[in-house]
């Protein structure tokens, strides 16, 4: 038996960021032509490790072997030369450029762009065919949905001749369909002999597609297993260091009065496109209404209209019986006073001010509440106390309320936002993408919190692109397509196929029934 050198081998990698030892003596071996998963809690050091492999950061010590050869990787260029490509968690694309321009950036092949562009166009066509990666190469990247942007990133790597492709949480922002498509692409890549390293928080994906898994915890590599020899429960335990419940345990809902009632709601965006069309929904106290749908079908706009950020074109919204549309009170500020909580979809863009300290972020949106104000003064003590309570209740790490939130990991940032909105004890809670980019330990926690709120007779509306998530926490599920509500079903009756069809815009109940098992 010939021992083929592993495609990638890491030996005793160490990396520190100030006081944080992000990677401790990491050793890893990845076989050629395999898909290798890496999992771990938020802040476990996965992204750091991969950034080191890609030459973006430099390890304090340690060695990297590619195909058995010691590689001195000290910048992305040397890593690209060694055949490594990386798709970063936050895409490294220039939004104002076309796909083509993004792909050739750095490998333009000559001073005049025209030559490089035409060469790249041909090459990209080939790659697109070979790996089923269709994108319009002349589209402006900023206009593309995330799924397509990711393909651009993959194309970028392949165009540079990557043999080893690293993907950092690629499905975090993808719809299930997009994720499926991605996995098909990864499969093809593997079949073509490429090596894929996949970082993810989703055990389902690990089980579905990887050949082997490595688990990281607190900067250390704690386990390597063959995917075939493990299961989700075991992986979860390895990751978090305790056993994790992967299913949400909940009693059936006992909804009572309607707290949020939406009738014929329409919203037209700045470009004159109707983003919400005659949406009618209601949420009762004591239930969770899940909104499923492929992202970009009006869910974001629905949340922002309900949150008082966007002004609807027409329709009616009643909070606790009070008509909001056309009312002076229909502002984000007043809605909070009336008893609305809103966890936005994107914590970085709207939920937090990254340069603020944690305690300053805990009053975002509630800055004029009497609780935090003492006459003219903002009551710093009250802010810190509240923040400490949240940190304690929601198990946020690190625990210092004076730290800048940019220094918290995504999961912990999400917990801070959730804590802020939930602890104000709202009657109606809007939640967008509750667990995006969050590790499973935290997911479990967040889901339980939502159920607890439901059981405290609150009306909760959850928007999520994760079908699993919607199915497991929602009591009723509304599916949106192209700005309209395709249908509302009881989650007991929901199946993945049925929801999938609805998400594609199919209303025909016969077809749905037929699809039902």
């Amino acid at each position: 038996m010939t021992i083929e050198a592993p495609a990638l081998e890491l030996r005793r990698i160490n990396k520190r960021f100030g006081p944080v030892h992000a990677n401790k003596d990491i050793t890893l071996s990845v076989n050629r032509g395999s898909i290798h998963g890496i999992i771990g809690e938020n802040g476990a050091g996965k992204s750091t490790l991969m950034s080191i492999v890609y030459g973006f950061y430099q390890a304090d010590s340690g060695e990297i072997f590619v195909n058995g050869n010691l590689c001195d990787i000290d910048n992305p260029q040397s890593s690209i030369a060694a055949g490594i490509g990386m798709v970063h968690q936050h895409f490294m694309l220039v939004d104002t450029f076309s796909v083509l321009e993004n792909v050739i950036l750095g490998v333009e092949g000559g001073f005049k762009l025209a030559d490089g562009l035409s060469k790249a166009r041909i090459e990209l066509e080939r790659l697109e065919k070979e790996y089923a990666l269709d994108v319009n190469v002349d589209a402006i990247v900023g206009d593309l949905p995330v799924g397509l942007r990711q393909r651009v990133e993959i194309l970028k790597a392949l165009y540079r001749g990557a043999e080893i492709l690293i993907l950092d949480e690629p499905t975090g922002v993808l719809t299930p369909q997009e994720a499926d498509h991605l996995f098909r692409i990864l499969d093809i890549l593997r079949d073509q002999g490429k090596t894929v390293i996949l970082i993810t928080h989703k055990l389902r994906e690990i089980m579905a597609i990887t050949d082997a898994v490595s688990v990281m915890r607190r900067g250390e590599m704690v386990a390597h297993v063959e995917t075939a020899n493990t299961n989700r429960e075991q992986l979860a335990e390895l990751m978090v260091g305790r056993s994790v419940l992967l299913h949400v345990e909940k009693e059936p809902a006992t909804p009572t009065e309607t707290l949020l009632e939406i009738k014929n709601l329409n919203y037209i965006d700045a470009d004159g496109v109707g983003r919400l069309r005659d949406v009618s929904l209601d949420v009762k106290a004591g239930e969770i209404l899940g909104i499923a749908g492929v992202s970009g079908n009006g869910q974001s706009e629905l949340l922002e209209v309900l949150g008082g950020i966007l002004a609807p074109a027409s329709g009616s919204i009643r909070y606790k019986g009070q008509e909001m549309c056309g009312s002076q009170k229909f502002t984000a500020r007043n809605l909070r006073k009336i008893g609305l909580g809103h966890v936005p979809e994107d914590r970085h863009r709207s939920g937090l001010v990254l340069s603020f300290s944690a305690n300053e972020c805990t009053i975002l949106g509630y800055q004029d509440s009497p609780e935090y104000n003492n006459g003219l003064r903002l009551d710093q003590r009250a802010m810190i106390n509240a923040c400490e309570t949240y940190i304690e209740k929601f198990d946020v790490r690190p625990t210092d309320p004076m730290l800048k939130v940019s220094g918290f990991s995504g999961g912990n940032q999400q917990k801070l936002v959730l804590a802020r909105e939930m602890e104000q004890d709202p009657d109606v809670l809007l939640v967008g993408q509750p667990t995006r980019g969050v590790d499973i330990g935290a997911i479990e926690f967040i889901h339980n919190q939502l159920i607890k709120m439901r059981d405290a007779r609150k009306a909760i509306l959850v928007v999520s692109v994760e079908i699993d998530e919607v199915m497991s926490i929602a009591d009723r599920i509304a599916v949106m397509f192209d700005g309209e509500v395709v249908g509302v079903i009881d989650s007991k009756d929901a199946t993945e196929t049925k929801l999938g069809l609805m998400m594609a815009g199919i209303r025909d109940t016969d077809a749905l029934d037929k699809a039902a098992p």
Binding site: P76, S79, T96, F97, L105, E108, K112, L113
Partner: protein
């Protein structure tokens, strides 16, 4: 006919006044498109104006002066890059510091060298860029309209005016059609993307700032050895800031920036002719208001017609890899 001729002459003045603005604004375009704010255009121009005039006076050659102007401006640009790129200093402060240092240093050196109160000797002959008569300009003079336009407006400028005219398409070509331009634009939009593509962000910014320095050097040289004939302290008189305003006004794009520069220059040329003119109804408008007219007009245009500008996304932020 006379008003036609006056209009042409006014446009002629517009071109002369616009030249340093165009060169400086395009210079700033490279820097700002690469993500580095450059309010040091003023200082670079002033430095170049001084060096060009001083060297031209000594050497007797405007071209040698131009070389000195460019070299000086390049050095100042390198200083800006050293502060803001290498040491991640604040770009606005660095630009201001350069403006202030040059404003003091140029006359100080000028006084030490020429003992003429910080001024350089008056330049004449080959020490100054002279007007170029284009072929047949003389003959065309008498052809109505077209010939007159050719002779007065197109012909008879100094070489740097033509350089400025050429700089617009060249800049557009470099920015949009070359590898260098692609990388400059990328580094100003998303330096992380550039870094992960294996290109050094710092080096790109240095290069872009070098181009800025080069073009600013020409702009400054124009002031002292082409349009004027010698250096006098503070002779840029805010043109660097005006060029920056034109750049923003033109939304960081070559042709709109050119138009903004021409507009500024035109209002400037027009206000000279409006001073003291009796207007119907309002009578004679106070000189100060006529002089403020270009600025008022700019504000009105900005408020009325020019929509929101989208500056390069990474502008003003020093690039720090480990975010």
């Amino acid at each position: 006919m006379e008003s036609f001729q006056l209009t042409i002459l006014m446009l002629d003045a517009t071109l002369r006044v616009a030249t340093p603005l165009v060169l400086a604004a395009l210079a700033g375009m490279f820097s700002e498109r690469a993500g580095v704010v450059d309010i040091g255009l003023e200082g670079k121009m002033l430095g170049a104006a001084f060096a060009a005039a001083a060297v031209a006076a000594v050497s007797g050659s405007a071209w040698v002066g131009l070389g000195a102007g460019i070299l000086t401006s390049l050095m100042l640009s390198a200083l800006h890059a050293y502060a803001c790129v290498t040491h991640k200093g604040n770009q606005v402060v660095s630009g201001m510091a350069i403006n202030i240092v040059v404003a003091g240093l140029a006359p100080t050196l000028g006084f030490a060298w020429f003992k003429m109160g910080g001024q350089t000797p008056s330049l004449n002959g080959d020490a100054r860029f002279r007007s170029i008569e284009l072929p047949f300009a003389e003959a065309a003079q008498n052809i109505p309209v077209i010939g007159y336009i050719y002779a007065e407006l197109i012909s008879g400028h100094n070489i740097i005016v033509y350089m400025a005219a050429a700089a617009v398409p060249i800049t557009a070509w470099i920015l949009y059609r070359t590898r260098f331009g692609l990388r400059v634009r990328a580094v100003g939009e998303n330096p992380h993307a550039v870094d992960t593509a294996g290109i050094s962000v710092d080096l790109m910014r240095y290069k872009a700032l070098a181009v800025t320095g080069f073009m600013c050097g020409i702009a400054g040289t124009y002031l002292s050895t082409a349009h004027g004939a010698g250096f006098i302290r503070d002779m840029t008189a805010g043109k660097g800031y005006l060029a920056l305003a034109a750049l923003i006004f033109g939304k960081w794009k070559p042709v709109p920036t050119l138009i903004a520069c021409l507009l500024f220059a035109f209002t400037d040329a027009a206000q000279a002719r409006l001073q003291g003119v009796e207007l119907p109804i309002v009578g004679t408008i106070p000189v100060q208001f006529i002089q403020a007219l270009p600025y008022i007009l700019t504000v009105l245009l900005l408020a009325g017609f020019v929509g929101k500008a989208h500056p390069p996304k990474a502008i003003g932020e020093p690039y720090i890899k480990e975010r």
